[in-house]
Amino acid sequence: MKKVTKTEFINFLKKQSETFDIIAPIKGDKGIDYDIITDFDKIIFDHVNTDRSFKRFLFPQSQTLFEFKEGVITEAKKQNKKKFIVGIRNCDINSLKVFDYNFIEKEPVDTFYKELRDNTILITAACPASNSTCFCTSFKIDPLSIGHGDIGILFDKEEDSFYIQGNSSAGKDIVDGLSTKDTSDFDQKKEKYKKNHEKNRDLIKDKNLVEIFQSKLEDEKWGEIFKGCIGCGVCTFYCPTCYCFDIEEQGKFWNGKRVRNWDSCMFPIYSKETTGHNPRPTQKERYRNRVLHKFYYQLKHNNEYGCVGCGRCITNCPTNIDIRNIIKTFI
């Protein structure tokens, strides 16, 4: 582990920008969100979390799978500038377990995701505080951990300094060149930030969700919990672990491309078949599918929750549907 001042860290990022696109949170019109950085002094480190997760850099909202012209298929052009994403919170970095399982571990490998994943250096930052909607501790995520991602950092605002640690071999290589100060006060600092995190946010309390949901597939509560859900895609598009996509053709006749776009299981068309038959005809089934997918199906197959407790779906839902309440209802 190393300790550097803020100026040193910014200079470090500037140096990295020669080989990487630096992506970090900055303040925009709406709020704090990731963007490609040109002005390094604007990067924000002491926020709680960004508006949107960084998933769109590894899994873009639209991605060309291949192009075709006169019936001849060619690979899509790729932008292969490496990325360097700074300031990822521990909740978001855990979403990659879901993505990695779906796109890499499960055969066949999705080359598009893998390529972006391999060409990205992820810097996890310990979370200085928690929002009222945060519940990552339910999923055994430590918000102050710096052990995930390629590099982990902890920003201490008081001293304006960073504790920095390489985790993967690529990360270690990058960190190696930095000079360091005494890091023995790290645990002390971590303890200090721990106080900002409220306790008792654990919703699951070691219960076995697989067993619980297995017996409640047709529970009548499913008919109530989706409440005023209007069926928009906000929760899924904001969710750091939602990976569903739709494939469509763009272009005319024999010239065009095949593109995949984010899709949302909240849309009626998501599972509607050509015959007009829809296996999930109402919002009740769609919502149930979303909840079960996060807390049952993925848990059973991958042994990881499909939710990381970032609270974005709660903050952004126009009708205030709260996934925490839904877990509470069934536990």
Binding site: I73, K106, R258, S271, T274, P279, Y296, Y297
Partner: protein, 275 residues
């Protein structure tokens, strides 16, 4: 690493209407540079550039190595384009995808195949596979119960005739209502199943057809005494990627494209009612 979304190119070798209402066309595709083997019950993503992709079960026998056959009902954008294909045109195929009928587990068992309407495609593949001289010895008796609304809507009529002539397969073909010139059985598939009453002893039942047929056939089979894990069916879902990535085809915890399309009823029972 290979881009899994790119299809291989195949050529249309033959295409003809399969049914009298001219809604179902059978296409025979020829492998060109690349080729693959498959098992009965698997499906492919049939892709028409500029129109899209759609999944279809492979209807030809796995022993037919030169090409693939599909029987496709005209319904949406892609199927319309498929119907408009001419001989010699190139199409994209991604496959083989999904799991297949439990042909290994079925060895040494009797098999009764129950099909309805145009869901007979992968069943044909299965039957041809079992009837192949290489494989026939491995199964005991094979019975086929196949129904359609009227004789014109039965698929693969030539093949059905062939099977009737053979003595190593029992055939029970039925139509819903009586039509002149039809000298085989009349009645809905569930009723016929009850009449034929295959013995559940040491027997697999493969059921595939419209949801309504499955709904009524299942109780008949259970009544006859078939255990739930020996009743096997093949499901359909709206699919996009076909390789378990895009998420939409899940039926409960399973992705129909990857973990399916073949399931037995013991598995299906434990899932939310979302068929």
């Amino acid at each position: 690493m290979k881009n899994t979304y790119i299809p291989i190119t195949m050529e249309v070798e033959k295409n003809y209407f399969e049914t009298s209402d001219r809604m179902i066309k059978t296409l025979r595709l020829k492998f060109l540079d690349e080729r693959f083997d498959f098992e009965p019950g698997q499906f492919c993503e049939f892709s028409i550039l500029g129109k899209g992709e759609a999944p279809f079960g492979i209807a030809s026998s796995p022993f037919d190595k030169a090409g693939l056959e599909f029987s496709i009902n005209r319904a949406g954008v892609v199927t319309k384009a498929i119907h408009e294909l001419r001989i010699g045109e190139k199409v994209g195929i991604r496959g083989p995808l999904g799991n297949y009928y439990p042909v290994k587990e079925m060895e040494g068992y009797n098999v009764v195949v129950i099909g309805g309407g145009f869901a007979f495609t992968t069943l044909r593949s299965l039957i041809e596979y079992m009837l192949n001289p290489e494989r026939r010895g491995k199964y005991k008796s094979i019975k086929v119960i196949y129904g359609a609304r009227n004789p014109g809507l039965l698929l693969y009529k030539d093949l059905l005739e062939n099977w009737e002539k053979r003595d190593d397969i029992g055939t029970y073909f039925t139509i819903d209502t009586k039509v002149e010139g039809w000298n085989k059985m009349v009645g809905f598939v569930p009723t016929i199943t009850e009449e034929v009453a295959p013995s559940p002893e040491n027997c697999y039942a493969i059921v595939c057809g419209p949801p309504i047929m499955i709904k009524f056939t299942l109780p008949v089979l259970l009544k006859l005494g078939f255990p739930k894990d020996k009743i096997v069916t093949s499901l359909e879902r709206r699919m996009k990627c076909g390789i378990g990535k895009c998420g939409r085809c899940n039926l409960g915890e399973f992705y129909v494209c990857n973990d399916g399309p073949v399931f037995n009823f013991e598995q299906l029972e434990k899932l939310p009612k979302e068929v």
